[in-house]
């Protein structure tokens, strides 16, 4: 009756099945992983691609930083290991920052799925390892060699057989070898699960490969994305943004060109790469930039190659948005998290009803090291977030993690873990940008050291310069920039500091931007803000 075997019903069912296969693998991976960022912050992805490495389905809960990175790594694998060199049971590996995701802790693995004697597709996964050697989480690394172990593209399993040499090298170079290997095996388990499920699906559907199904998924997704782009007026939309940087602010420039049903985004004019670990490799730039486009234009289409086809993303090689070796990239989020917001701001000119004002992101982190009263050492990181941006029809949420997704640490846990007393954690009243719809407040947390001796503190803190304050949209005001104070005085948040017993650290995260002219704010909303104490009365 229907001409194609892929109609509205069969395609929907098979597509749902593919997504549930990657979601099932993701659940298995999260469950067996040691890495807390994998468990708590979804810092991983599971992906299925066709035989050419084009993505068909990506796990629903993986964070935006991985959109499209695994398929790109797989195409590099295919170049290095063409099908003739692959056998069932092979698993390929790399953490190269330019072939992978832009920093070394993310290990990408992929497994060819053989069916009827040929490669029918690939199962891929990337996960943030518990450790990768090198300096611990420091943005001061001068080059990638300081950041830890680099794993070149190679077969980590050869026809299912382990390679003791590779494993020995890996183990020798990381601080927690059992956990790192444990997580890697968890990734292998996820790959095998996807492989088994896909083969069962191909058998059931009497298909040779995933290619034909992939063509339909890509075609429908691409068509929907093109239709969404067509609704945006043609033009060039420019944006610039300033990040705190480390020693001096870093300028980011972007031109977003809409031509009919295609978008080209170019970061020409952005600062050059720096001798610190905040450089962004192209894969990460593409992931977060396309996330911005997708979040505004087509949030509901599942992530796959077709969605990305109408979008071209460029950045000059050697710039901070397209680093070249040996640039360090460990803290790439400090710059990369600006990109989706820049896209959103660019589109806000023509689609104000479909955007949010600037969010008080990236995430903040308080790092404290010292000794307890019993002499034992501690080194802990505590995360916090700024206010969310307002949108037409809604005020921004007070305090929300975006675009990453990191939970805060409970005060009761902090006080159990380390000799630090938290005096308050509360909304930073009046820091949301003004507007018809108000930006969300940031938060302020006051820590007091109760350690017997001096402790060392360091921070991840962004948008502390006035020019980096989260901007409003459509006439809305900016959120307040963040502040870091030690013993009541503002300090350089990018430097390490020593805090004496009884000394205090006050973190004040930025507020989100507002939406629309403040004069148009509805009286009940303004009244409620005052009654609730969200703004100063």
């Amino acid at each position: 009756m229907a001409s194609s075997r892929f109609n509205a019903v069969t395609l929907e069912m098979l597509w749902t099945r593919l997504i549930s296969i990657v979601d099932e693998a993701a659940a298995a991976l999260v469950r067996t992983s040691f890495s807390t960022v994998v468990r708590e912050s979804n810092d991983f992805a599971c992906v299925l691609t066709d035989a050419r490495g084009q993505s068909l389905a990506q796990a629903t809960e993986s964070i935006p930083g991985f959109i499209g990175t695994v398929p790109r790594t797989i195409t590099h694998f295919i170049k290095a290991y063409p099908p003739a060199q692959l056998k069932p049971g092979d698993v390929l590996i790399t953490n190269d920052i330019w072939l992978g995701t832009g920093h070394l802790p993310d290990i990408t693995v992929a497994k060819p799925i053989f069916h009827r004697g040929r490669v029918a597709g690939f199962a891929g996964s990337v996960a943030h390892a518990p450790d990768i050697g090198g300096k611990i989480r420091s943005p001061d690394a001068r080059d990638v060699y300081e950041e830890g172990l680099q794993i070149p593209m190679m077969k980590v399993l050869d026809a299912g057989k382990k390679n003791p040499t590779i494993e020995a090298f890996l183990r020798q170079n990381v601080r927690v070898p059992d956990q790192v290997m444990g997580d890697l095996y968890a990734q292998f388990t996820a790959l095998t699960l996807m492989e088994e499920r896909v083969i069962a699906l191909l058998e059931e559907q009497k298909l040779d490969s995933l290619d034909e199904l992939g063509r339909h998924i890509h075609a429908r997704s691409e068509a929907a994305m093109r239709a969404a782009i067509r609704e945006v007026p043609n033009g060039v939309y420019r944006q610039s943004a300033v990040s705190d940087g480390l020693d001096q602010p870093i300028r980011l420039e972007m031109a977003l060109t809409v031509k009919d049903d295609e978008i080209v985004i170019d970061f020409a004019g952005s600062a050059a790469q720096v001798m610190r670990a905040i450089n962004v490799a192209m894969a990460y730039t593409i992931a977060f930039t396309s996330f911005g486009v997708k979040a505004v234009l087509a949030p509901r289409i599942p992530n796959n190659e077709g969605v990305l086809r109408p979008i071209t993303i460029k950045a000059p090689l050697g710039s901070i948005a397209n680093s070249k070796p040996p640039a360090a990239g460990g803290a790439r989020a400090l710059v990369g998290h600006f990109f989706p917001m820049m896209v959103i701001r660019a589109l806000s000119e023509v689609l104000p009803e479909r955007v949010v004002a600037t969010v008080g992101s990236p995430l903040w982190c308080f790092n404290a090291m010292g000794q307890r009263h019993d002499g034992s050492a501690f080194a802990n990181m505590f995360f916090s977030n700024g206010g969310y941006g307002a949108a037409r029809g809604r005020d921004g949420a007070h305090v929300l993690s975006w675009p990453s997704n990191v939970k805060s640490t409970p005060v009761e846990m902090i006080e159990q873990l380390v000799p630090i007393k938290v005096h308050y954690r509360r909304f930073r009243v009046g820091t949301g940008g003004s507007g018809e719809f108000r930006g969300g407040n940031g938060q302020e947390t006051l820590f007091e050291s109760r350690a017997p001796g001096p402790i060392t503190v360091a921070f991840l803190a962004e948008r502390t310069r006035p020019e980096a304050a989260p901007a409003g949209v459509a006439g809305g005001g900016a959120g307040a920039p963040g502040e870091v104070l030690i013993n009541g005085a503002q300090v350089n948040p990018k430097a390490q500091h020593v805090v004496q017993p009884g000394g205090t650290v006050l973190l004040r995260t930025p507020g989100g931007g507002g939406f629309g002219l403040p004069g148009k704010r509805a009286r009940e909303r303004a009244h409620n803000d005052v009654a609730s104490g969200y703004v100063d009365s």
């Binding site: 009756m1 229907a2 001409s3 509205a8 019903v9 929907e12 069912m13 597509w15 099945r17 549930s20 979601d23 659940a27 999260v30 469950r31 067996t32 040691f34 807390t36 468990r39 912050s41 809960e61 935006p64 956990q179 444990g182 095996y185 429908r220 068509a223 929907a224 239709a227 996330f291 979040a295 949030p299 959103i344 955007v355 949010v356 995360f383 949108a391 809604r394 949420a397 007070h398 929300l400 675009p403 997704n405 990191v406 939970k407 805060s408 409970p410 005060v411 009761e412 846990m413 006080e415 159990q416 308050y424 954690r425 509360r426 909304f427 938060q443 009654a531 609730s532 104490g533 969200y534």
Partner: protein, 693 residues
Amino acid sequence: MAQYALGIDIGGTFTDIVVYDQKRAVSYSHKELTTPESPHRGVISGIRRLFEAERLEYRDVARMVHATTLFTNALIERKGAPTGLVTTEGFRDILEMRREHKYELYDLFIELPEPLVPRRLRLEVPERIGADGGIEMPLDEETLLERVRELVRHGVQSLAVSLLHAYANPVHERRARALIEREFPKLFVSLSSDVAPQIREYERTSTTVVNAYIKPLAESYLAQLASELARLGIKAPLFMMLSSGGLTHIAEAKRVPVQLLESGPAAGALAGALFGRRSGVGDVLAFDMGGTTAKLAMVEEGEPLIAYQFEASRAKRFAKGSGFPISISTIELIEIGAGGGSISEIDALGLLKVGPRSAGAAPGPACYGRGGKDATVTDANLELGFLDPSTFAGGTMKIDRALAAEAIKPLAAKSALAGAQLAWGIHSVVNENMAAAARVHVAERGRHASEFALLVTGGGGPLHGCEVAKRLGIRRVICPPSAGVASALGLLMAPARVDRVATLARRLGKLDWGAFERAFRELERDARTVIDATLPGKPKVSVERAADLRFVGQGFELVTPLPKGPYTPKSLAAIRQAFVREYRRVFRQVPLVSDIEIINIRVALTAKAGRTELKVHERRSAASGARKGTRKAWLASRGRFVEMPVYDRYALAAGTGIKGPAIVEEASATMIVPPSARAQVDRAGNLIVDLGS
């Protein structure tokens, strides 16, 4: 004299009344429309009707068990009492900050749950307990009372008190309650150290606030229901079903009503476990598909899995993480946006989507003829011949096949398919959705769905079960008798149960073993008083100890069953071993970290409440043969309608086999047996479908 057990299960649409005659081992049931404005009315009229119809005597009721979605609905509809919150100075915003993360990564306009207590009703009081339980700053009693007076002036009727580190030392919270009750004897007060004494201030406060929010409602509703039941002449005590799948007495239910939120689904999971056990199957997925949602619970070795935290009142109904965390023991289950009322549409990509939007009970599926125009799953099932319009819902409801066909037509046209093909598409897509959710849920618990049997209940379970099972690689489907009301039967076999928890936050290597054992005993003593009040006459009580353990440095804990006490320093090795074993079971691998931390300790006390396990005798049909005839139904493998044999379930003798394709009907459910499957009623009364390989 007869001895009845009476089960009352108030759902969103229907109130199920079930009576089980413990001597004759027969059961009677009745479905009454739920009366949301005053739910006890539906209960009383339902009981009356059933007792009159079956000529039962009220005085013969020996015990009553009640489950209700009333409190969950009050929460969803925000119909609880005006509630205030008192916190430690500096921390009133914790309730609104949540844990700062999103439940959906890609939605810019994410909707976060509005806190139950607005900021102006969250007030602070100077005081401070340290992490070790020591008093760092005494409670400022004057300020406390001023704050409470202010809240009362603002109309607050119920108050939650959640102070920092109250799990470690409840002295300030208890002093606060004493002071507040003296001045405001009518104000409801819930203490975090009472409701959920566990570390992590947001989750504990959230649980306490939800408790406070529904507490006045629980008080008035339960008092009224108990008195109305007594007026009927029922002398037996009323027990409440808890989310944990256990029973408790009314006073305990009123004290901490947040324990009742998931009582209805818990009964369903218990029923699934019981019917599985009766057929000798320990590992089942209990799959209950109703009008708007499907629920799935994992049963391992005959027992439903317990979770120690769940979510209530989600901002986005089926999105994990969008609700209020509730730190209370509960039967673990997922809710899927798939039911008879699920609406189908062709989306922007030209694909057929089914649910989670539902036509609900009003207007309902198009075939109800109540104004619904959207094609729903029930419309598709009718179009495919799977449902018989003359016997739908026991013949109480008229449905119209022509209206179903009419609703399906535009979707079929859009996708260039024939009406029946599209209807089969709706049936298949909703099956795929349910299978996808089940697959991920089971994988999150480290298992594969194919290792289970699927136990189907609810109106939709038997209709869709076999196709869902096939997609999950499951080969056996079990359909209990009276699948439509099976969940209410679950109430009657629940044990009395009390769960208690306390936070310790100590390293295992540095434990004071005397204090450790005393902490368990104190919890057990407290739990025992509740059991004794529930079941007088010194029942046999089983005690299980568990602890939330983690390797030092980890950010999450694993709830680990512990060996029996009493504990001494010699228990260290056994506890360590129990954790390592559990860790390996769950995560398949164990990190080489030497030190273990105990965050919380838990006890669960259970005691059998009923006299015997439930045995339900099959009603026999008067018909001479089981085969009633045939009807035209869609056979997907042929791509056309065929004359499908229809069997009367009541007339199937145990052991008689049926070959699919076939339809097996009983009053409350219709089972579709697919081609090449074999079905038979086993000696336990369950219909077992073997799907082959």
